[in-house]
Amino acid sequence: MENNIFEHRLNINRRRFLSQASLGLGSVALGSLLMPDLLSGTGSMDAAMIPGLSDFAPKAKRVIYLFQNGAPSQIESFDYKPKLKEMVGQELPDSVRGAQRLTGMTANQSSFPLVGSFAEFKQYGQSGAWVSDLFPYTSRIVDDLCIVRSMHTEAINHDPALTFFQTGSQQGNRPSMGAWLSYGLGSENKNLPAFTVLLSRGIGNGQGVYSKLWTNGFLDSVHQGVQFSSGEDPVLYLKDSKGLSREERRVMLDNIAELNHLSYEKFGDPEISAKIKQYEMAYRMQTTVPEIMDLSKEPDSVIKLYGPDCLVPGTYAANCLMARKLSESGVRFVQLYHQGWDQHDNLPYEISHQAKDTDQASAALVTDLKQRGLLDETLVIWGGEFGRTSYSQGKLTAESYGRDHHPRCFSIWMAGGGVKPGLVYGETDELGYNIAKDPVHIHDFQATVLHMLGLDHEKLVFKHLGRRFRLTDVRGNVVKDLIA
């Protein structure tokens, strides 16, 4: 009987191997004809994978996520609350706060004085969306934006909240959204990784960002986000050493390949031929990446659009322009992080600078994509990990105040990629403390983003440690109202 059992398992293995082989070879033509990315991706065709394809045509092919790390205040940006101005200095009613948990930073505060926005609000565009005067460039493109004012999350501190946003779980070590997309859709480009990350920081209180936010988790490491840095080496170890010409590198790689090939003849291990291919991809990346990083060929009109900062490596503006170039070259998911939005005190001064650093370039990116005809297929997302309180943290003075973390409501915006333009979705109560209408949970947001890319969040799963994991954990509903 035991042999039977073994036989059965060997058969299963063998069938899987054969079907992998046939998917990998026989269907290349089929795959490139019908679905360029599904089968040509680098992911191992694990038997546990259920392709997350839905029966609808995806609009978005790529995502650029402008993550505003530290959590920008919704009250000074997109959620206009005139009532707070009237009630400045008055206590937040207990009935509004309810059993809301507070961070350790304000839990011991004896008073919770409400405070309105120091920035002025106006309505813009056909949609009439309210935007504060801290964001003059963004206010001009509101008709391209879908502003969601009713986001809410479960985490109250930066690390778990960021992790929750990116991986669908607060604990970490699960794949990041970009890794899921790379896994689900593969790479559009043979010379670049499918998931790249760009970092920048403003003057405000910096919260660390770290590689676990772009982790592949339990997925194959080809899906890991590759950090492009602003330094000399945009991709780690990309640059050849001094004195080594491209020709020299080519000759070396040819020799390595020849020797590896001899080794393949001896051992017959397919891993050896895979290694030869990876060295070739590395060589191509060495050419492609510097080309993308080179902004000298961008016309003046583009430089003007993003603002002069875009020529200063490592700035948010430079990263926005880089994001467009990467995305245009077929990078599936470009993730930006801009640090410095954590305004516990001195909010008016700091947020003004943060907004100034990011407003023009964010709007420019949307405009630039639109001009190139790429906005329809590129989903741009702007937002932080949670919101900020409508009461002041610390002392409220005539000139200044601060705001603590607030998971109950906050605002983000999206553009392109099939979202409904010119939409303002969701409402908070008049004190900007609780959601009054159309709440959107992080998992709903994630489900919606996957949907835009043609992926069903309940089907894009990976079996690990006996459980099928997905980006949206066990919840999440696609918010149909946000879709054009």
């Binding site: 036989e7 191997f17 930073m105 490491s221 001094k242």
Partner: protein, 780 residues
């Protein structure tokens, strides 16, 4: 509008039909396979619950008809025999399973139904049974629908050594089990690997280091019949053995040099790592090794060494972020310990039961918190201090290590200065902190109180055990515990053979993989228990087997019949771990600093990584690279800052030490190629080795030959020498002096003097190429 609508409809259809088309194609090819003689899925004569049916039920049915009471549908439970046979309350007259009668069994009727409202699994679950799965279930019911207890939850018994035909092949018991399976499949093992391959394999497996030229010459010339065994004795006694074994234990123990979370500042936990190296080298029995780590502080009259061992369960991340809720984080530490112990020592994915009853394994949420309560009584806080000076490098409870300790009991701690060290360890509260089931795992949602105990389905926690961590350790090492020995044997097997006998080392439960050689696993487990949990004895069983000594070449037949090498008809061939890649490079170039233990070191790493990912607080906000000897320490000692782990490690799948890991992926990516080509560590090694060789000999051929041997650990073939010589001559002809000088300008190690830069750089290029061979960093 109309046309747009049409377009959309067309689009939907278009995509829908493509999807359908693909499915048709796939189905067509499957059908073909089903029909093509030898490829037919054979339904075994006797269907086994454990090996055939349970994996299907567990994967496709248990999430609604399994152990989790809150999610159970229709009152039907399929993981327990009596429950599955019972009359269904919601469908009068029907029974889930009727032995011998598939057509009367509701389960069968539903899995073959086409009616979407009746069909199981329901279409909205996105789960589907394949034809062969349905046929297996049908046959199982026909044969009586008999259940068997889960294999991993019954204690291992010594199995009979199987009969085999080729009696000349086995060298020890392991081989009988391996060969029996091969013979039953009409396969045979590869012949023994050549001596060079064996030496490299053994040396990497036992020390993490490549053999030296001297070792190669010695072993090649030793014709005595016991040459191999002598080599094993020598390597397993080398102090590098402890370092090698410690690498896998560091992943399990989630060891790091920083606290993790937002600011991620420094912790001085490395003396605990020194202890682990020491423990492996001293070969302390596995039961002692674990008991001290779990409960060293509770042993009567605990020594400082036993206390230091408990650092194991304080290696988890600890927050220094102001403003957090203390209890939330304290609870998360207890959860981390519970999950670590579950995954690494029990082979059970406990974490699933933290929020609800386990969906697949018979572990209730109550049992989770009962296990949790063993670790809930520590004198610790969620946040003790924010980023600060040396007093924050360990968190209460911690121990101090003085110079006196190092001179007396803790002699293995490689302490450099006279300042006292602090290390986080375990320590109980004076009173009992009550433990509750936490609703959905949320720290401030207590439900019923629980007492320390272990999951009943694994092994009852009898009254003879103290209700504390020491009692838990005794329970772990009870002869009746079905998991402890198996889980450890499997981890060690994985360490030497690349993957475990159970390929899911962290999950021996219902959803885990079934063992490929269950009797072998049990034989080794019983042998381990009956021989005092002797770790080196277990290792010897593996490496002195004929199975281990096979050659690693893969024939087309093997690749076709057994692509995953389940039958072990060849030695596994895989890329070595990140730490050992570094060791191979440093050791072969002669740069390696062999010092054992001590604080972690900070070798070359690309600039700006820590600086770009920091809040700016603490001594780890800027990467201060080491100089001199410290640059050349083994990979094991590479400083791990959790939020920005060393890229040369993580790119080669090193753990970020976020949580306990029992298995590393082995990937193959273009970024890995870039590291091998451009990391200054690699280039410096090439520069130093080429300089050294040229000082020894002026003959390029001799030098190339020697370099190849030193790095790849075998003699090059004639063809290989031809390629390399031609490459070298090409460099001599092409490189000019300024290029050469640039190429040589890498690394801080002093330059050799009196060498011609062009010749030197040419040899250096050749050596870099040799370092980049796939075989160099593979176990072959």
């Amino acid at each position: 509008m109309d046309s747009i609508l049409k377009l959309i409809v067309f689009n939907r259809f278009y995509f829908g039909s493509i999807h359908f088309f693909i499915i048709l194609l796939l189905m067509a090819s499957c059908e073909k396979k089903l029909d093509s003689g030898s490829e037919t899925i054979e339904i075994p004569d006797q269907v086994s619950y454990n090996f055939h049916v349970r994996p299907i039920l567990s994967d496709k049915c248990f999430s609604c008809h399994g152990p989790d009471a809150n999610k159970r549908e229709a009152g039907l439970r399929l993981d327990i025999e009596e429950e599955a046979y019972k009359a269904l309350t919601e469908t009068p007259g029907a029974h889930g399973l009727v032995p011998f009668k598939p057509n009367e069994s509701e389960v069968y009727k539903r899995i073959v139904s086409d009616d979407p409202t009746f069909k199981m699994p329901p279409p909205e679950s996105n789960l589907k049974l394949s034809d062969s799965e349905i046929r297996l279930i049908e046959k199982w019911i026909q044969q009586g629908a008999t259940y068997e207890p889960h294999w991993a939850f019954t204690p291992p018994k010594t199995p009979k050594i199987p009969n085999i035909k080729n009696k000349d092949w086995p060298l020890n018991e392991v081989d009988y089990f391996i060969l029996a399976k091969q013979e039953a499949r009409g396969m045979e093992p590869n012949s023994e690997a050549d001596k060079e391959a064996l030496l490299k394999r053994l040396s990497l497996d036992l020390t993490g280091l490549p053999p030296t030229l001297k070792m190669m010459d010695q072993f090649l010339s030793d014709d005595s019949p016991k040459a191999y065994e002598k080599l094993v004795d020598r390597l397993i006694a080398s102090p590098a053995y402890g370092e090698k074994m410690a690498v896998y234990w560091m992943d399990i123990a989630r060891f790091a040099d920083s606290h993790g979370f937002q600011d991620d500042s420094y912790r001085s936990q490395w003396p605990w790592r020194d202890w682990v190296i020491h423990a492996f080298n001293k070969n302390i029995p596995y039961d002692t090794f674990i008991t001290w780590q779990l409960a060293g502080d509770l042993i009567p009259d605990a020594t400082k060494e036993q206390l230091l061992a408990t650092g194991f369960n304080r290696n988890h991340k600890i927050t220094e972020e102001g403003g957090i809720v203390d209890e939330e984080y304290r609870v998360s530490y207890v959860i981390d310990r519970t999950n670590t112990v579950g995954k690494s020592l029990m082979g059970i994915t406990m974490e699933c039961a933290g929020c609800h009853d386990h969906k697949y394994d018979p572990i209730t949420q109550k049992e989770y918190y009962s296990l949790y309560s063993f670790f809930n009584n520590i004198q610790e806080r969620g946040i003790e201090s924010v980023v600060g000076g040396p007093e924050t490098y360990a968190k209460r409870p911690f121990m101090q290590i003085s110079n006196e300790d190092v001179e007396s009991i803790l002699t293995f701690v490689n302490k450099k200065d006279t300042l006292d060290l602090i290390v986080s360890v375990m320590g109980e509260l004076d009173s009992i902190r009550p433990t509750f089931v936490l609703d959905r795992g949320i720290y401030d949602q207590p439900l019923d109180p629980v007492e320390p105990t272990t999951p009943e389905s694994i092994l009852s926690f009898g009254p003879k055990y103290e209700k504390n961590r020491l009692g838990l350790a005794k329970w772990m090492f009870s002869r009746e515990n079905p998991l402890t020995a198996r889980v450890f044997v499997n981890q060690i097997w994985q360490e030497f053979f690349g993957k475990g006998i159970v390929t899911t080392p962290g999950d021996f439960g219902m959803q885990g993989a079934l063992p490929s050689h269950p009797e072998l696993l049990d034989w080794l487990s019983v042998d381990l228990m009956e021989n005092g949990w002797d770790m080196k004895r277990l290792v010897r069983h593996l490496i002195t087997s004929a199975t281990y000594r096979q050659s690693a070449t893969i024939s087309a037949e093997q690749l076709e019949k057994d692509p995953e090498n389940m039958l072990l008809t060849r030695a596994p061939r895989f890329r070595i771990k990140a730490e050992f890649i570094r060791d191979v490079i440093l050791s072969s170039s002669g740069l390696l600093n062999p010092e054992i233990g001590g604080p972690s070191s900070k070798p070359y790493q690309p600039g700006g990584l820590w600086e770009g990912a920091t809040s700016g607080r603490g001594i780890l906000s800027v990467y201060k690279q080491d100089h001199g000897e410290k640059l050349y320490r083994r990979g094991l000692y590479n400083f791990i800052k959790r939020t920005v782990p060393p890229p040369a490690m993580t790119i080669f799948d090193g753990s970020n030490r976020d949580q306990c890991e029992v298995q590393r992926l082995i990937t193959n990516t273009p970024i890995q190629a870039l590291v091998m080509l451009n990391d200054p560590t690699m280039l410096e090694a090439s520069r130093v080795l080429s300089g050294k060789l040229m000082q020894e000999s002026g003959d390029p051929e001799t030098n190339i030959y020697k370099a190849f041997r030193t790095i790849v650990c075998r003699q090059p073939t004639e063809k290989e020498m031809t390629v390399l010589k031609k490459y070298y001559e090409g460099r001599i002809a092409t490189l000019n002096e300024s290029q050469a000088t640039d190429l040589l300008d890498v690394g801080e190690y002093p330059h050799a003097t009196g060498l011609n830069p062009v010749t030197w750089a040419s040899l250096m290029q050749v050596i870099t190429a040799i370092y980049n061979l796939e075989e160099t960093i593979s176990k072959t």
